[in-house]
């Protein structure tokens, strides 16, 4: 009973939102809402800048400023929201 069910994810035709990992989601979110400067091409590989960006996001959203992609931050990123960037030059 404790063995987790194996989830099968499919690609739904016409779906604008693609199935993506939490890491991909975070990268897109940080770019889209201005926490990462897209022109610098900083992805989650850039540990320092990502951590800074996550801290900035966590501060903006009133979350604990851990600088890491924890569950509460992922949950916050999945919330419906306004499309206007939070941070801009």
């Amino acid at each position: 009973l404790c063995i987790p069910l194996k989830s099968v994810y499919v690609t739904f035709p016409g779906d604008v939102v693609k199935n993506m990992t939490d890491k991909q989601l975070a990268e897109n979110y940080l770019k889209q809402y201005g926490y990462i400067d897209v022109h610098q091409r900083n992805g989650l590989q850039g540990v320092v800048s990502t951590s800074k960006a996550l801290k900035k996001l966590q501060k903006q959203l009133g979350l604990e400023e851990t600088g890491s992609l924890d569950q509460s931050t992922i949950d916050a990123m999945k919330q419906p929201r306004c499309g206007v960037p939070d941070v801009r030059k």
């Binding site: 959203l61 306004c82 499309g83 206007v84």
Partner: protein, 568 residues
């Protein structure tokens, strides 16, 4: 709060807006009202006023769109990003865009305004009982014409109140067909269509022809979404098909299987495996009013706040009531200053026409929904003490109101008289002459009578005008000249030498009426111009005088209206 860099703001306070298109999810009148209320949120706390334009360029151009919708900031399908708006300025600046892959409601589930039927355009009541079965969506049960309908009270079997739900068989919106329903099948580019289609369009909106041949007649309209329709996916507008098979398993309800985002979906044919036709299941939806109020904040110059309970916080959460936080108020007042002087002009009434009718033969009647100002502006140069007779006198919110020729005055039980005020500012849809009015003590709804029509204001919304026959009053009677509430749900309506008893709960006249006024209320004028309740007394007015009747139905005083009631 935060403002945009450079404190971008409008250089004028009389801001204009224009609604360019509508969502298939909500009736135009509900959408108009949601936007008007969203603007009022800001005008209530600032010197800003908002005027709706129906053509030309407005400061704030409002539109619905899907995915890439023309500004290179594409929407992202259902959920996620809901809307965006631009800070004040020329061109695209100041505009507000709403993602039409969302399910737009008033925030608590389908907001289905009915047409025709006998419910006067009321919203569907879900769930409702029909022949012992509970329905949580519109249904075609009980009808042979396949038109979806709903009850507007909890129990159709008992109340018999119903109306028809939006469907392409009832009406279309936009286009060039004046809301005519779809005609099926119709021909488009030589192909026959039996249902609404997105063919020929790049914006994803479903349309149909309103004659049998689009190629020849070029008549079309957009299809309203049924409340049972799926959202997004590749079958927008189609209902779920239950049961359906997915990866070999049978489903009888919406499921999140197969999706990492755990969103509920369904197939719109019997087999997803064979047809791959699907969409998201309808949910509570997002409040267009709340999202619009947030976006309009951007359009006025406010950036995102990091105060979680502020309207300008970037995340959506549903709340009831006035949505502004002190942080929002400080933000808008930082840009435009506090509200000063008289109230701004309230948003223009957004009037739409819907029809009420028996199922077989519709007949038109108007239903109007507007926002109203909460306070009144003093209008100079009409001396109440020079007025000989009043159109109507009634008590509203503990103050006696005197109506005359588009103006009114009010006087509290203890305190100074104020006025004149313009009726049109407080109750924008009312005519200048009010014959009678009363405030229902239970619901606080205010009923206004003028000639053979009546209106009902409930908070910031109004229904009407409706014919007084709808209440069960005879069509050949004169005007309702007075109204007196008796107990919690009964109101006596006076006209000529007779009176009727109106049941506020059933919205109908009780049987056994009319009765002759003189036979029950002895000693008062037989043809009173105004009858009202004030304190524990009934007042019957004729000319400059009133006859006061106590609870034992004794006339205990006759006096001058001006001297005793108006303190002239």
């Amino acid at each position: 709060f935060q403002t945009f860099e450079g404190n971008l703001k409008w250089d004028h306070t009389d801001v204009t807006y224009r609604i360019l298109n509508y969502s298939p999810d909500m009736e135009a009148s509900l959408t108009d009202d949601a936007f008007a209320r969203a603007f009022k949120v800001w005008s209530d706390v600032s010197p800003l006023t908002f005027t709706r334009l129906h053509e030309g360029i407005a400061d704030i151009m409002i539109s619905f769109g899907k995915a890439e919708h023309g500004d290179f900031y594409p929407f992202d399908g259902k959920d996620g990003l809901l809307a965006h708006a631009y800070p004040p300025g020329e061109g695209l600046q100041g505009d507000a865009h709403f993602d039409d892959d969302e399910y737009w409601t008033l925030g608590t589930g389908p907001a289905i305004q009915t047409r025709y039927g006998n419910a006067e355009g009321d919203l569907c009541h879900f769930p409702f009982l029909f022949e012992g079965t509970s329905y949580s969506t519109c249904t075609t049960e009980g009808r042979s014409d396949n038109l979806p309908w709903c009850a507007t009270t909890a129990n159709y079997d008992q109340d018999k109140k119903y109306g028809f739900c939006p469907s392409e068989n009832l009406f279309t919106f936009g286009g060039n067909s004046n809301e005519d329903p779809c005609v099926f099948p119709f021909v488009y580019e030589g192909v026959k269509y039996d249902s609404c289609t997105t063919e020929g369009r790049s914006d994803g909106y479903r349309w149909c022809a309103t004659t049998a041949n689009y190629d020849k007649d070029k008549k079309y309209g957009f299809c309203p979404n049924r409340d049972t329709a799926v959202i997004g996916g590749n079958s927008e507008g189609e209902p779920c098909h239950f049961p359906f098979t997915f990866l070999g398993k049978t489903y009888s309800s919406c499921t999140s299987d197969g999706r990492s985002d755990r969103k509920l979906w369904c197939a719109t044919t019997s087999s997803f495996d064979d047809d791959s036709k699907w969409g998201f299941c309808p949910d509570r939806g997002y409040s267009l009013f709340l999202v619009a109020a947030h976006e309009f904040g951007h359009a006025l110059g406010l950036d995102h706040s990091n105060v979680r309970d502020a309207l300008m916080y970037p995340m959506y959460s549903y709340i009831e009531g006035f949505p502004l936080h002190q942080d929002d108020i400080e933000g808008i007042q930082y840009l435009y200053g506090p509200k000063t002087g008289p109230d701004p002009t309230p948003p223009q009434p957004q009037t739409t026409t819907s029809s009420t009718a028996t199922p077989t033969k519709p007949s038109p009647s108007d239903t109007t929904t507007v926002s109203i100002s909460t306070t009144s502006r003093n209008v100079p140069s009409v001396d109440v003490c020079q007025i000989k007779t009043f159109d109507a006198i009634t008590e509203i919110q503990k103050e006696l109101h005197f109506f005359k020729d588009g103006h009114y005055w009010k006087i509290p039980l203890k305190g100074e008289r104020t006025g004149p005020f313009l009726i049109s500012e407080k109750w924008p849809v009312l005519p200048a002459t009010i014959n009678a009015a009363f405030e229902d003590q239970l619901t606080k709804k205010i009923y206004f009578f003028s000639d053979k029509q009546f209106w009902v204001y409930s908070g910031t919304e109004v229904h009407g005008p409706r014919k007084i026959e709808k209440l069960g009053l005879p069509s050949n009677m004169g005007r309702v000249e007075g109204a007196v509430q008796r107990g919690k749900s009964k109101v006596l309506l006076f006209s000529g030498e007779n009176y009727w008893r109106f049941d506020v709960k059933t919205q109908l006249i009780d049987s056994g009426y009319p009765r002759i006024t003189e036979s029950v209320f002895g000693g008062v004028p037989t043809n009173s111009q105004d009858v009202f309740l004030y304190g524990e007394f009934m007042y019957f007015c004729q000319g400059s005088f009133y006859w006061r009747m106590n609870s034992r139905r004794q006339v205990d005083k006759i006096g001058y209206i001006k001297n005793d009631l108006l303190n002239c």
